[in-house]
């Protein structure tokens, strides 16, 4: 029924002492879309890299179109008909669009060593048009175009070579909704043509939508294959981490619940060039979500609310005491917290102990007389780290040694230590494994029930729908709509308001 195009049997890959892939067998069929999912370090990228020719397996055999398959390089694999799209930049600066499209194949356009640019551009033009990229000029230098356009051009290049297998490795993460939609289209088209598609992604909803089959990997080993109708994010997650998620992932309730009392009021807030006229009230015990495209201004909005960016006009006020948040110091003093999107650069002190990170904003509370005693610091750090279940050797360890998820736990611990009443979070679960994500969601739920308020920006619609009491959407720096939490709220509803 389904013709097997490639079979990789008993694949192993070691990097020094690290066993990235342990005895995995995978089959890719004509016209099928196969999803590969797993946490960071599960081996999914390594596996597909071996198929794409990036490096050879330590052990294992591959058969492609009935013959033994041992690609020497990515170019080799490409020539055989296996195209590989990744998250990073795949086109080369310093060359035109057309040159990039025909990279390595200029020979077909040259006579006696001179490349016929007109012909090159002509053919490139054709390829671009076939892939919905009419607006791209093949003779322009590639740097002229945005990251997304370049990714599309790269995709067009891959498709023009009529691949048998198309591997898409986390490509959609860096794209806008428009870009993602285009990729989905392409996948559907290729499936029709009979191309085998392998897609690797963290966005489980995407996987659910696109795939015929999903293979789950964990710690380099094969766990299970989920078929057609059984595919849903919950099952995938369960298999990815290997244990029951204790029932819920996001919040269990489907109603918007928060108290009447307003704790923070933003009025007509504007920063020239970024956003304008934003107003909203944050209530006690409320999780208020803010959604929008990456450049809509919402990230800067949060920084402005916290006091890190000076607004051109408008006010941010804490109702209790009527205090205006004019600087980060004022905010912190008033028990407001800010969790930046860029964890490593903006919220963590890398070459510093976990302890120093955790106590950083709470020093005033730790004082004995005029001084801060090491014993008090250690006590607080240990307590908070335990509360957040940070996986570490001791609080004296350097923060940089921790994994992404644990780093975020430390950041949260820091603010919890200060008895924060209002949290301002920017993409709090970005780049974090499913297990830790679940913990953070639970924490947010607990905080909400304690009467603590959360203002949250997220680029994951699902997260907003799953966690927020209300969602405000921002488009082009302006507020567009407000959605109330409900079981019927869908991504499509929100997306409409932000693009």
């Amino acid at each position: 029924m389904e013709e097997v195009v490639l079979r990789a049997k008993n694949m192993f890959k070691d990097f020094g002492a690290t066993k990235a892939v342990v005895d995995v067998t995978i089959e890719v069929c004509k016209g099928c879309v196969l999803g590969l999912v797993g946490e960071n370090g599960s081996g999914k990228s390594t596996l597909s890299s071996m198929i794409a020719g990036v490096y050879p397996p330590t052990k294992g055999e591959m058969t492609y179109l009935g013959k033994e398959y041992k690609p020497k390089s990515v170019l080799d694999a490409r020539k055989s008909g296996i195209q590989y799209l990744t998250q990073e930049q795949g086109t080369i600066d310093g060359m035109t669009v057309a040159e990039n499209i025909f990279l390595g194949e200029e020979a077909q356009f040259s006579k006696f060593g001179n490349v016929n640019m007109r012909k090159l551009n002509q053919h490139a033009r054709e390829i671009l048009n076939n892939n919905g990229l009419d607006y791209v000029d093949p003779s322009k230098p590639i740097e002229y175009y945005s990251f997304e356009d370049r990714k599309m051009i790269e995709t067009a290049r891959s498709l023009s070579q009529q691949p048998n297998i198309l591997i898409i490795d986390e490509t959609t993460t860096a794209l806008s909704q428009k870009g993602r939609d285009r990729i989905y289209e392409i996948i559907a088209e290729q499936k029709e043509k009979g191309t085998a598609v392998v897609i690797i992604s963290h966005a489980l909803d995407e996987i659910e939508m696109l795939c015929d089959e999903v293979m789950v990997l964990r710690d380099g080993a094969y766990i299970d294959t989920i078929r057609r109708d059984e595919i849903n994010p919950q099952i995938m997650r369960q298999k990815m981490i290997g244990r029951e998620l204790g029932g819920l992932y996001y919040r269990g309730d489907v109603e918007s619940t928060y108290e009447e009392e307003v704790v923070l009021s933003v009025e007509n807030l504007s920063v020239d060039g970024l956003f304008s006229g934003i107003s909203f009230d944050l209530h006690k015990g409320e999780i208020l979500g803010i959604g929008g495209l990456s450049e809509c201004g919402m990230h800067e909005l949060l920084k402005t609310v916290f006091g890190a960016i000076k607004p051109t006009s408008g006010t941010v006020r804490i109702i209790e005491g009527g205090i205006h948040l004019t600087s980060t110091a004022v905010s912190v003093k008033n028990k407001v917290a800010y969790i930046p999107k860029d964890r490593d650069k903006e919220s963590l002190f890398q070459a510093t102990s976990i302890k120093d990170n955790i106590v950083a904003v709470s020093l005033d509370n730790l004082k004995t007389g005029m001084f801060i005693l090491p014993k008090a610091e250690k006590k607080m750090a240990n307590e908070e780290a335990a509360r957040m279940e940070v996986k570490m050797q001791s609080v004296e360890q350097l923060a940089s040694d921790l994994s992404g998820g644990n780093k975020q736990k430390v950041v949260l611990a820091k603010w919890l230590a200060n008895n924060t009443k209002i949290f301002i979070m920017d993409c709090p679960t970005r780049g974090i494994d499913v297990g830790v994500k679940a913990k953070i969601y639970k924490l947010m739920d607990d905080l909400k029930h304690q009467g603590i308020s959360i203002l949250m920006v997220s680029e994951e619609m699902i997260e907003l729908i799953g966690m927020a009491d209300r969602i405000i959407t921002i488009k082009g720096g302006k507020q567009t709509r407000e959605f109330i939490r409900s079981a019927n709220l869908t991504e499509a509803d929100i997306i409409e308001a932000i693009v």
Binding site: A308, V332, K345, S347, Q350, A351, T352, A360, I372
Partner: protein, 304 residues
């Protein structure tokens, strides 16, 4: 393991120096008089270094020290007219003034701190030179304080207060956080300008005290008072293993270890009677060696 090694190098260097000189000078190095000399010679740099640590911790260099020292001595001299207590207080006052100016130019004028420091250095030295050229500035009464116990007392008090402030109060702790990651510090509610200014003020206090000690040793204010103080302090701290870009690994003990290495080396080489032409080479070799090993290259990669 590497990190541990890097931390001990300065201390090991000091211990080795002390051992080498003790064993090779027939007891001259360890004589009471010699130890007394070393303490008194190193006091000025030691005191100034305590304040400088605060500035270096938040990733700045204070180049104003020499000029500030000269200016403070001159201004204090002219106003106090020889009263040693008043002179002491005024030295500190003017030292703080220089520190404030340096930090204000840096923060408000958005000039890199090392440049604003140099402005103060040139201005201070220039003013001092002009003032000294117009009248003699002898302060013989100051020399009466040139004794071991005054110096030990000052060193002890300054170092203790510096140590406590640096390790047990916000003032010190925030310097380290700002040095490690200024963006994260700001987003943690730390007012960067305020704390940078505090660091420069503390540096100003210690340079004022250092100026006072210089006059006690010299008996007069001259155009060369405080010459090269900022370089000496920087060298001493480097020898003590202080990280160049500050941050959490900054330690107050670098002050003691580094300054002692510097002056013990100087003292020991003289006791040996090393051929004068080789002295600078030996010093340079020792400096390079210690500093190269102590530089923490790993810190560079962490904050990409």
């Amino acid at each position: 393991m590497r990190k541990q090694f890097r931390k001990i190098v300065p201390l090991a260097g000091l211990v080795i120096l002390i051992a080498v000189f003790s064993l090779t000078t027939d007891g001259k190095f360890t004589s009471a008089n010699n130890i007394r000399s070393i303490i008194m010679q190193s006091a000025i740099v030691l005191v100034a270094a305590v304040g400088t640590v605060f500035v270096m911790a938040h990733n700045n260099l204070d180049f104003s020290l020499g000029g500030a020292c000269a200016f403070s001595s001159v201004a204090a001299y002219l106003i106090s007219g020889g009263n040693m207590y008043l002179f002491f207080i005024l030295c500190i006052v003017f030292g703080v003034l220089c520190g404030l100016l340096t930090s204000l130019i840096h923060i408000k004028g958005r000039v890199p701190a090392f440049m604003s420091g140099m402005c103060i250095m040139f201005a201070g030295r220039g003013i001092a030179q002009t003032a000294v050229a117009s009248r003699s500035m002898l302060l013989v009464s100051a020399t009466k304080l040139n004794n071991l116990w005054v110096f030990i007392a000052i060193i002890a008090v300054v170092f203790t207060i510096g140590f406590i402030l640096f390790n047990y109060t916000k003032i010190g702790k925030y310097q380290k956080l700002i040095g490690t990651n200024p963006k994260a510090a700001e987003l943690s509610g730390i007012s960067i300008s305020k704390y940078k200014m505090l660091a420069f003020i503390i540096s100003g206090v210690t340079v004022g005290i250092a100026a006072w000690l210089t006059i006690i040793r010299s008996g007069s204010v001259s155009a060369n008072t405080g010459l090269n103080l900022e370089i000496d302090v920087l060298l001493a701290l480097s020898l003590g293993g202080i990280p160049m870009s500050g941050g959490s690994a900054t330690k107050m003990r670098s002050v003691f270890i580094g300054t002692l290495i510097y002056f013990i080396l100087n003292n020991g080489l003289t006791l040996w009677g090393l051929n004068a032409n080789y002295v600078d080479i030996v010093k340079a070799a020792f400096f390079l060696f210690t500093v190269t090993i102590s530089i923490d290259r790993s810190q560079k990669t962490l904050i990409e």
